[in-house]
């Protein structure tokens, strides 16, 4: 809900917020095994609390986030790997649950727009600098006859 609160800060249109400040993981959820608990925390940080805005289940105090945290821990206790746990949640809730979207055709723009821009910019800079250099190295064109004549006139005038 944190995000909603933050948004509210900006628009404050007299909203009545039922949200609490983020308080996330509760003591009774924590697993005995510290290694497993650490894995659960890592996984939770990448999963969206579906009823919140842009907030992971690790940070959210919503009931749904709590259910998901417990679910993640149950799957881990059953011996799932991290990716199996994530896949389990994606199967249940769809891609929307992932805060870090997978690279699939519909997220190509998301993932590649910036790197492609960077590459294009580098390519363009490279070409521009080559062009500049070529221009610099080109010997100045010879003077035309009229120019030659004007110079000799000026020289004689001295």
């Amino acid at each position: 809900m944190k995000t909603i609160l933050k948004l509210a800060v900006f628009f404050v249109l007299g909203w009545q917020l039922s949200a609490l400040p983020a308080r996330a993981v509760e003591p009774d959820e924590v697993l005995q095994d510290p290694v497993l608990e650490q894995r659960a925390r890592v996984i939770s940080k990448d999963l969206r609390c579906l009823v919140c805005q842009n907030q992971s289940i690790d940070d959210s105090n919503a009931d749904l986030a709590r259910d998901l945290r417990i679910l993640v821990r149950e799957r881990l206790k059953k011996g799932d790997t991290n990716s199996e746990v994530v896949q389990y949640l994606v199967d249940r809730y769809g891609e929307f649950v992932l805060l870090n979207p997978r690279i699939t055709p519909h997220t190509w723009i998301l993932w590649f727009a910036a790197p492609v821009t960077l590459l294009l910019a580098i390519f363009w800079l490279f070409r521009a600098s080559r062009r500049r250099k070529a221009q610099m190295q080109k010997p100045p064109s010879a003077l035309s006859e009229a120019e030659q004549k004007r110079i000799s006139e000026l020289m004689q005038g001295e």
Partner: protein, 664 residues
């Protein structure tokens, strides 16, 4: 009566803004000095009128006049005075009025301080600036009038959102707006230059102080927001990659790029068209930010579709100004003269690298923020783009820039010597290697990434110092000579050092908090204690208290250090009575090496008097914000540089020869 005066002068300001747009632009076109002079008078008049209007609204808030709709919806008679005042901009209507006021303020400063600007350029800048004012004043009067009366007036107001009732956040919006709106100056200068068809060194010199001021304000605004999130939201996070934050980060990134590319225009006359484009885009991103935050499109695409009036208006403003400016750019930019040439390894090359990364980073944030909205609007498909995405894309992109940062200032203009620069950085490099090894040893193995990141932070802090030391020939000539050189070093050079090392201070804080934060989430009964980061924390129980407009559970703690020194700490959970909305007031004790941070959670359902308590030790956390203060003061020092004070558009040729290179 006061509300009507506020309303009346607001409309008057709109009329003046229309005049200020039309008359000076026509005057500049016809080279008519009398018409051009109208611009300055109008700019000052517009500012005074808006100041009266804004004061009227402030008066209504302070006296709690609930017959005015904005006041009734956002204020309350029992609120402390500070928040009655900050309530003026803690709502949509008031904050837009503040937007317009700051816009007019910047216009007025051009009228007052830029007497030495060529009359034509000044008239055009004021005209373009006023045209933005017209758009926003129309927006306010047509869709967001702050002075609308209510009948009958309610007995009391609905109160300000409790989250805004905080000293840190009270001043966050004015700084943020000063930054957003400040970039309008860069925009106006860019458009004026396109109309004139001339962008030169003098232009860059005039535009830089405005850009720098805007950038400084935005830096502080973002920093205040981040600090507030840290102590208020109750779990010690300091940046969330949330769309609202991204909206302010984008203009900051492109504004930082603009700040640097304008140096190249000023010193070397190169990158002119690019700098003009950046100025347009930076203000464009400020408008995008305003659109995202004000339209409601972030809450959901549907909320926007239901009540699109304000959003569509801002979108139209955005399209008109940025589309128009880009068209003008496409038409006029090819006629601008290209500047000096330079080798890839040179100060210019370094700044191009800076621009390349900053702009790509900005594009990453832009796509990450808007793509989910666009995808949902087009296909209806919903995806989430959160912190893990930005950490995976933005951070790796930014690291090369940070590595290159201390090297750039050592490169000469036109043709630099990379090997020579690295030789001059040999001392910082040695310190960095020692820091990496020391960190690795101290953390007892583990990931090598953390020591490397600490090394990067040291590199960023010591590198800029080494550059200044090199300039003033520290330890290489008699000390009196060093002092003389230090006194003669341009202020902009000192400013650059301070701002650049501020980046290092911020990075150090970020690395430390990310790598070494200690967290405990436990249920504590009165009298129980726990150990964290070398101190013992005892919970003394919580008691109920009442404040002016809230009630709270105040948890009292005693911290005992190893030395035996003990001090009390308090963390409370507040409920604001009017809104029945809870907030956390965390307890933070600042040590030199980090914060001890306590947030009081829920009361335990069974154990009497027990609470869930979140305790963190956040190593070096305050350094994140100290770093931004360094950046701010670096900018401030640079702003006092002689060439801005004299302001004469002459090239200081003799000076630049003796000084070698002077940078921002």
């Amino acid at each position: 009566m006061i509300a009507e005066i506020g309303q009346f002068v607001l409309i008057l300001a709109l009329v003046i803004a229309v005049i200020q747009t039309a008359v000076p632009l026509v005057g500049a076109h016809r080279s008519d000095t009398a018409l051009m002079r109208v611009g300055s008078t109008a700019a000052i008049a517009q500012f005074i009128l808006l100041l009266i209007s804004f004061s009227a609204l402030t008066y209504l808030f302070v006296t709690s006049d609930f017959s005015v709709s904005t006041v009734a919806r956002n204020s309350h008679s029992a609120k402390p005075m500070l928040y009655k005042v900050s309530g003026v901009w803690g709502n949509h209507e008031g904050s837009m009025l503040l937007w317009a006021l700051i816009l007019a303020f910047f216009g007025a400063t051009v009228a007052i301080f830029s007497r030495n600007l060529p009359a034509g350029l000044r008239a055009r800048v004021l005209g373009v600036q006023a045209s933005i004012g017209v758009a926003f004043l129309l927006f306010i009067t047509l869709t967001s009038n702050p002075f609308t009366r209510l009948s009958p007036a309610p007995a009391d107001g609905q109160g300000l959102n409790p989250l805004l009732q905080d000293p840190g956040l009270a001043f966050h919006p004015p700084f943020l707006y000063a930054g957003y709106v400040g970039f309008s100056m860069a925009f106006s200068f860019a458009v004026a230059a396109l109309i004139e068809g001339r962008v030169d060194e003098a232009w860059a010199r005039w535009v830089r102080p405005w850009t720098l001021t805007a950038w400084m304000m935005l830096t502080i605004g973002i920093s205040l927001g981040s600090w507030w999130a840290y102590y208020e939201l109750g779990w010690g996070g300091w940046w969330f990659w949330d769309p609202v934050e991204n909206a302010s980060l984008m203009p900051w990134l492109s504004g930082t790029a603009l700040l640097h590319s304008a140096i190249v225009v000023e010193k070397r006359g190169a990158l002119r068209t690019w700098t003009v484009l950046l100025a347009i885009l930076t203000f464009g991103l400020s408008l995008v930010g305003t659109f995202l935050v004000r339209s409601g499109v972030l809450t959901s695409v549907h909320a926007f579709a239901v009540d699109p009036e304000r959003g569509v208006f801002i979108l139209l403003i955005l399209c008109f100004f940025i589309g128009g400016a880009l068209l003008l750019y496409a038409w006029r930019a090819p006629t601008l003269k290209a500047g000096g040439i330079f080798a890839p390894v040179s100060r210019e090359g370094g700044i191009i690298f800076n621009n390349l990364i900053l702009v790509t980073a900005c594009a990453t944030v832009f796509v990450g923020t808007l793509y989910p909205l666009a995808l949902e609007a087009v296909t209806g498909e919903k995806i989430s783009v959160g912190a893990p995405f930005f950490n995976a894309t933005f951070v790796p992109l930014f690291i090369p820039l940070l590595i290159a940062l201390p090297i750039g200032p050592f490169l000469a203009w036109k043709r630099g010597d990379l090997l020579g620069a690295m030789q001059r950085l040999i001392v910082p490099l040695g310190i960095v290697i020692v820091a990496i090894i020391a960190t690795y040893v101290l953390q007892n193995g583990g990931s090598i990434l953390v020591p490397l990141a600490i090394g990067l932070a040291f590199w960023l802090i010591i590198g800029p110092m080494a550059e200044t030391a090199f300039r003033i020939k520290f330890l290489r000539v008699p000390f009196s000579e060093t002092l003389r050189r230090a006194a003669n070093l341009p202020r902009s050079s000192w400013g650059m050092m301070v701002a650049h090392l501020g980046v290092g201070v911020t990075v150090l804080g970020i690395v430390a908090i990310s790598a070494w934060r200690v967290e405990q989430i436990i249920v504590m009964s009165p009298g129980s204690s726990t150990e964290i980061a070398g101190v013992t924390l005892t919970f003394n129980g919580a008691k109920q208290r009442r404040g002016p407009n809230y009630s709270e559970d105040a948890g009292s703690f005693t911290v005992t250090e190893k030395s035996g020194r003990a001090y009390p700490m308090e963390a409370t959970k507040r409920v604001y009575t009017r809104q029945s909305m809870p907030t956390t007031e965390t307890g933070i004790h600042y040590y030199f090496d980090g914060d001890l941070y306590i947030a009081l959670g829920d009361r335990h359902e069974e154990k009497a008097g027990a609470y869930t308590v979140r305790i963190y030790f956040n190593p070096l956390a305050p350094w994140i914000w100290f770093g931004t203060l360094f950046m701010f003061f670096g900018g401030a020092i640079s702003l006092t540089d002689r060439r801005y004070r004299i302001g004469a558009p002459k090239k200081a040729k003799v000076k630049s020869k003796t000084m070698g290179v002077q940078a921002a």
